[in-house]
């Protein structure tokens, strides 16, 4: 495992350019010199079942049509389309494949007629958590997920991704209790172990099916923390630490053979790009239709795809919400790509403005500052195992935040400062070894909170 980072210097850490670009779909290359919009959309309020199925198909067809029309209208040269299924479409892969086909066929037609470079990323659900506690390596849900991974390429997917959830059954409670130790265990032990298992399966199926194994996200962990912090429920400094704590876990996908782009909602993406060199998808201000965030601008600083996360097909004054997102993404990408076309120095200037404009306001933004990413990433890659990296992530992030708060490059209110002071000792107290943590957590969690065997424990 390489200890050095794939991105060697801050000067080379830019939006639109990744050390290892990804080629996919109809003429699309990601990370090769321009930022590509990634458009996502989902159903409005509707029950997905056999009775509503015709309407569901119509909705997806209509969303894809309007989005492609707008992209062509605005001369968007390249586009990544994400289809994130809803659970009934993973439970029943044939449903997921039917929608995949509807979207893929329209992408192909748009490519042939208008020359737009376009690829379809398909993201089935991690339905394993329908069992409580989750069955991660067996059972009906896992079998159907495998069927989905195997059949997606034939159905028309160019890339496959997932928002995997191993460890979430422990993390949810840990988050609302701001319990650092349990979060470290959930991500650095459980999450990392499940990622290894899951992604080896995904990568082998993708290779067999000619599909790009793209990436994963700590959405169910770190974005949950971000949303809770946004609502004033948990401290932002804690949410910022959770973000970096998720890095070693998400990195496992790329060690297992995923090649990017990372999932849009994986705000740990800049760390993936710095460490593994994969192109990353990010979402910011143009994703506020899906969720608010303190990362509206800084998320764009080193992105390779720029996404709206997801928007339901509701009507706005101008048109349907997915079209609106498409237009916003198109303009945002015009700006980054104009700066890139200007000069490397120009792109760095824009990158730094995007970063500086957010970083001082929120610790969750601060830990995404490109220079901070390189500093922390370098530190955690000094260790070799996911747990050791996770422990380093917690400690290093804490000290970086403390220093930033002290020198005023990060502004914190008194409630946040109080919590920052509490979290240092908690990080220091993390045990040296994974097994030590495992033993102590086992005794403090209620019986049946999670199934150790599902993690090979």
């Amino acid at each position: 495992m390489p200890r050095s980072l794939a991105v060697h210097s801050l000067d080379q850490f830019l939006f639109g350019r990744a050390p290892h670009p990804v080629r996919c779909g109809h003429g699309l290359v990601i990370g090769a010199g321009s930022v590509v919009p990634e458009i996502n959309f989902t159903l409005p309020t509707i029950d997905v079942n056999a009775d509503s199925w015709a309407e569901v198909c119509r909705q997806y067809g209509q969303m894809m049509d309007t989005v492609l029309a707008r992209a062509v209208h605005l001369s968007v040269p390249a586009l990544l389309v994400e289809f994130e299924t809803v659970p009934p479409m993973t439970h029943n892969p044939d449903w997921g494949f039917e929608i995949t086909g509807i979207l893929a066929e329209r992408c192909l037609r748009a490519h042939e007629k208008h020359g737009i470079a376009v690829a379809l990323r398909v993201t089935p659900n991690d339905t394993r958590e329908f069992n409580r506690p989750p069955l991660l390596r067996r059972g009906e849900h896992w079998e159907q997920m495998l069927r989905f991974f195997e059949g997606a390429g034939k159905a028309g997917a160019d890339l496959l991704a997932i928002e995997s959830t191993g460890g979430k059954e422990v993390c949810d409670d840990a988050l609302v209790n701001a319990d650092l130790r349990q979060v470290v265990f959930a991500l650095g032990v459980l999450g990392a172990r499940d990622m290894r298992f899951l992604w080896e399966h995904i990568v082998s199926r993708c290779r067999a099916g000619g599909v790009v194994p793209s990436g994963d996200t700590a959405c169910g962990f770190a974005n949950t923390a971000m949303t809770l912090a946004d609502k004033g429920m948990i401290p932002k400094v804690f949410a910022a630490m959770v973000r970096v704590i998720s890095v070693p876990r998400s990195l496992v996908a790329y060690e297992a053979g995923a090649i990017g782009p990372s999932k849009d909602c994986a705000y740990e993406g800049p760390y993936m790009k710095a460490i593994a060199g994969v192109p990353i998808s990010m979402e910011g201000r143009t994703a506020s239709c899906a969720h608010f965030s303190p990362l509206g601008n800084i998320a764009q600083a080193v992105c390779d795809c720029w996404s709206n996360e997801s928007v339901a097909n509701v009507r706005l004054l101008s048109g349907y919400a997915p079209e609106v997102s498409m237009e916003q993404l198109a303009y945002d990408c015009r700006l980054t790509n104009t700066a890139l076309a200007d000069s490397d120095a120009g792109a760095r200037t824009l990158r730094d403005w995007l970063a500086v404009s957010d970083a001082v306001h929120d610790p969750q933004a601060y830990v995404l500052r490109p220079d901070v990413v390189l500093e922390i990433a370098g530190d955690l890659m000094e260790a070799d195992t996911p747990y050791e990296r996770t422990r380093r992530a917690a400690r290093k992030t804490w000290s970086v935040l403390r220093d930033a708060a002290a020198d005023g490059t990060l502004r914190l209110d008194s409630r946040e400062t109080r919590w920052l002071e509490r979290l240092g000792p908690a990080a220091d107290a993390l045990p040296d070894s994974e097994s030590e943590l495992f033993e102590s957590i086992l005794s403090e969690l209620p019986e049946g909170s999670f199934l150790p065997a599902e993690y090979g424990l």
Partner: protein, 216 residues
């Protein structure tokens, strides 16, 4: 903040406010020993303490973890008191059955609401996630439930709320209880449309909503 907590068992109030479960149960023991009425302890010390915790949260002084510590202290004290209350014939504030609806796996909001309601003196039956309408019906039949609380976080599982309410009606148990709903995509308009009795846009308002539902 409640200004007029009687000095007598203020240590109980303080223990709940500070989330000190050991101190709270110790204070309960001492008060019972001194023949204080259990209902008085609940009404004049413990619930006011939880109300003040909620207030601190609303005023951006507390975060949820602090609020949960208080809720746990409250629960520990209540566990001591509950048998005495039952023996004296007094009732809990009300009984709430709650769950995330069919097809939806989101836990956190539902769990927070459960914790807040328990802290507010309600008895809570947590049905978990992905809850079938039948399970709501069975629970309503088996236990005397005052309120059913449902959560959904997906636009594609919101319709399950409507289905559940219709199933409760069809089973003939709808009239005897109140229904409150919540979750990110839910709105007051949606609650009205499907015939729910109340909508809460965050966990911390759940207690006051539940109180007004059982009062009405």
């Amino acid at each position: 903040m409640n200004q007029n907590i009687p000095e007598k068992w203020k240590s109980l109030y303080d223990a709940v406010l500070e989330g000190n479960a050991a101190a709270a149960t110790a204070a309960v023991d001492a008060a019972i020993e001194a023949n204080e009425s259990p209902q008085t302890l609940v009404d004049e010390y413990m619930i006011p303490a939880m109300d003040d915790v909620g207030e601190k949260f609303e005023q951006n002084e507390y975060f949820v973890p602090e609020l949960l510590i208080s809720a746990r202290a409250m629960k520990a004290a209540l566990t001591k008191i509950q048998p005495l209350l039952t023996a004296s014939g007094s009732q809990p504030k009300g009984r709430v059955a709650l769950g995330t609806v069919k097809g939806d796996l989101h836990d956190i909001g539902k769990n927070l609401v459960a914790a807040m309601l328990e802290g507010g003196g309600f008895e809570v039956i947590d049905l978990g996630v992905d809850v079938d309408p039948d399970k709501f019906i069975d629970t309503a039949r088996a236990s005397k439930v005052d309120i059913i609380a449902m959560s959904a976080l997906l636009t594609t599982t919101m319709p399950s709320m409507k289905t559940t309410i219709e199933a409760l009606k069809a089973a003939g148990v709808r009239d005897g209880l109140k229904i409150m709903i919540g979750g990110a995509p839910i709105t007051q308009e949606f609650a009205d449309e499907i015939g729910a009795d109340a909508y809460g846009d965050n966990a911390s308002t759940a207690v006051s909503i539940a109180r007004s539902l059982v009062a009405s």
